[in-house]
């Protein structure tokens, strides 16, 4: 009885892991700025679903609380804060010319996911826990794919969402390997995420007002220019 329930929970957790990987691919593949935001929100939902599942199966109040904090912070608060502080036309932008075209980006993302699995496999020999076997590689893959989408993007908002997606990956691995982290640490980490968003939002707004565009390629004045 208990093992069937555990199996179901592990299965649902694996399902949310697969969907998290899918949303990570989606963030690399989409052109619209708003699309990146939507994929991030969906990814955070699956992250909190996983937190609820693991918290339920291990009777850990911490994880249930973390799930609620994740929903409150990443699904509700962050998009709302960004919508309020950033100018509206930032959301309608599309990246027409990407540094690397989308099929190649997706291929690189896939290779990163495979690399994450390989990096993690010597560590997984320590424990037989199937939840860790699923969460740790996909969490690391989320971090790597988020870092890649950060490098490959030019617009400011997808870059910030890339950082937040990396954070999602770290959390996803963390809820499996460190489920009993003291609540203070979890709260501090959550507050830190919000602060990151606020700071980058403020910066983006200032940049848009001063420079007019947040395309990183156009901000390249600081260099060792040869003097005429």
């Amino acid at each position: 009885m208990a093992s069937a329930q555990t199996q179901l929970i592990e299965g649902l957790n694996a399902l949310s892991a697969g969907l998290i990987l899918l949303t990570a691919f989606g963030m690399v593949a989409t052109r619209q700025v708003q699309g990146v935001m939507r994929f991030f929100v969906v990814q955070s939902l699956f992250l909190s679903a996983s937190a609820f599942l693991i918290g339920f199966s291990r009777n850990s109040i911490h994880l249930l609380a973390l799930g609620i904090i994740t929903i409150a912070a990443k699904v509700i608060a962050i998009p709302w804060v960004l919508k309020r502080t950033l100018p509206g036309d930032l959301y309608e932008r599309r990246e027409i010319n990407q540094v690397i075209n989308i099929p190649s980006s997706l291929l690189i993302a896939l290779l990163l996911a495979i690399a994450a699995e390989f990096l993690v496999s010597p560590l997984l020999a320590i424990t037989p826990d199937p939840v860790i076997h699923v969460n740790l590689p996909i969490g690391l893959a989320g971090i790597l794919i988020g870092a890649y989408s950060l490098i490959a993007r030019r617009e400011a908002l997808p870059q910030m969402v890339g950082i937040l997606a990396m954070e999602n990956g770290a959390f996803f691995a963390g809820i499996a390997i460190a489920p009993d982290l003291p609540l203070i640490a979890e709260l501090a980490i959550a507050i830190d995420v919000i602060l990151i968003v606020v700071v980058i939002g403020v910066l983006t707004r200032n940049i848009t007002q001063t420079i007019g565009t947040t395309e990183a390629a156009s901000m390249s004045e600081l260099r060792e220019e040869p003097q005429p």
Binding site: L140, D180, I189, E225
Partner: protein, 481 residues
């Protein structure tokens, strides 16, 4: 108790600067609170010297030798920077409406910097380092011109990118700690104690993640590209804090982690640290040759010194560790002095380009003299303290058998020395270019420079007893044999 005072006063000062009636005296509040904080950290250092550690809340807020050294450096550099900022910021034409925001933000930065060495739990240390990054980014963007915003944006992206990576590293460390049966609370001390029983694969993986995540914040190559921009575009007192202590604090965390790994007999990464450190020093040395902006010159020098500290920690002997911590100390005090002087040059002449500055000894003797002395100090000439610490690192390396690394390091240090002195020579001597009126340096800035010069002058020839003992204590924490 003094520990809590030292750490929390900057937060109090930040809040005070927010309060409307007190906004006009924001500078005074800041200097007052930070001076008391400095005194408190000196007293804490005294406690550590007597008892080995200073404990405020056991398991959460406590410092040992290395921590109290870092705390001391934080408060010293930040207090002097606050003193310097008084006249400098007013001269910069900023209205007092924005200045309170500047001081409040700076106090928050100081608070975050002070909190990192004072916390004993590694996960909260992560939060502290991230807060440091955030507040520093806001400060770099203070002047809101295109250059500052670009620098702040690059810094934000490159350094915050490391945040989730290092978070995963700390979580893996936590996992390793608990999977090898650590039932107590996780602190640096208990981690070191359990180091040999933790699975070495996990430790290495966690260290790799933390190193990648925090290495960008410390300016280790190849993730250093944001550093010259940020450290030159920010207002000068902020640059002093950034170069002087903000790059050292993530390196402090990396070194702590390194000491845990060295305590585990199976994980061997000392040589990798030497290689990466040499890579940073090399890149900095060669970039110093073709730099055009003197603030960027000092920023590249920061990259160089961070690399040297990492190399020293990689040698993993007790003498090399002593060299590493004394290099941390000497670099902080010297680099902040250099930035004060650079700020004075900027104030008097109004240009950042090296090529446009000529004959400084004639146009502004105080500034010119200070520039000469501090460049000699940062480049590593005797009788200044950096020469002593670099020499001890090199000799420790020779004694532990890393001959090739020492040879490469010595060559690179010489290249950097020549590069810096060539630029500074051009700035100091020769005919003055323009006859533009020279601004006078405000008295508060002069005071700060003189105060900052005292330890630089003294420590090169004589290291007082307590300082030496503190350095010894700190070196023990680094875990070399």
């Amino acid at each position: 108790m003094t520990l809590i005072v030292a750490v929390s006063l900057p937060l109090v000062a930040a809040l005070l600067c927010w309060v409307r009636p007190l906004r006009s005296i924001a500078w005074g509040t800041t200097v007052f609170c930070l001076s008391i904080s400095f005194a408190a950290s000196v007293m804490t250092a005294g406690q550590v010297l007597r008892g080995g550690r200073a404990v405020a809340i056991p398991g959460w807020i406590e410092v040992d030798g290395l921590g109290s050294l870092a705390l001391l450096l934080v408060t010293f550099v930040c207090t002097l920077a606050a003193i310097f900022a008084g006249g400098y910021m007013r001269h910069g034409g900023q209205s007092s409406e924005r200045l309170w925001w500047f001081y409040s933000n700076s106090n928050l930065l100081v608070f975050a910097l002070a909190v990192v060495p004072a916390l004993a739990s590694p996960n909260l240390v992560w939060v502290g380092v991230e807060l440091v990054t955030l507040f520093a980014t806001l400060l770099v963007a203070f002047e809101s011109n295109a250059g500052a915003l670009e620098a702040a944006w690059k810094m934000a992206i490159l350094t915050i990118m490391g945040a989730p990576i290092s978070l995963l590293g700390f979580l893996v460390l936590y996992w390793a700690f608990h999977s090898s049966g650590g039932g107590t609370a996780e602190t640096w001390a208990s981690l070191s104690a359990m180091a040999s029983t933790m699975p070495p694969n996990l430790l290495k993986f966690a260290f790799l993640l933390v190193f990648v995540g925090f290495g960008a914040k410390s300016g280790l190559a190849p993730m250093h590209t944001w550093l010259p921009d940020a450290h030159s575009q920010a207002p000068t007192p902020v640059c002093a804090v950034l170069s002087g202590i903000k790059t050292t604090i993530p390196l402090y965390v990396i070194l702590r982690f390194l000491s845990i790994i060295l305590a585990s007999p199976e994980a061997r990464i000392g040589n990798w640290m030497v290689v990466i450190g040499l890579f940073s020093v090399g890149i900095a040395a060669f970039l110093l040759i073709q730099v055009r902006d003197y603030k960027r010159m000092f920023a590249f020098s920061t990259v160089e010194h961070m690399g040297i500290i990492l190399v020293a920690a990689g040698f993993a002997t007790h003498e090399a560790d002593y060299g590493a911590v004394s290099q941390m100390l000497n670099h902080s005090i010297t680099k902040s002095l250099c930035f004060y002087v650079a700020g004075m040059v900027l104030l008097t002449l109004g240009t950042r380009q090296i090529s446009e500055v000529r004959g400084l000894v004639r146009t502004a003797p105080f500034v010119g003299g200070a520039l000469l002395l501090c460049s000699l100090a940062i480049a590593g000439a005797p009788p200044f303290p950096i020469f002593l610490s670099e020499f001890s690192i090199l000799s420790a390396g020779l004694r532990s058998g890393h001959n090739v690394a020492v040879a490469i390091l010595a060559t690179l240090i010489v290249i950097a020395f020549v590069a810096i002195m060539r630029h500074v020579n051009g700035m100091l001597f020769g005919k003055p270019e323009s006859t533009a009126p020279v601004e006078r340096v405000p008295p508060s800035s002069r005071t700060a420079v003189l105060l900052a010069a005292v330890p630089v002058a003294v420590l090169g020839v004589y290291i007082p007893g307590p300082v030496h003992s503190l350095l010894q204590l700190a070196a023990e924490q680094l875990g070399g044999h």
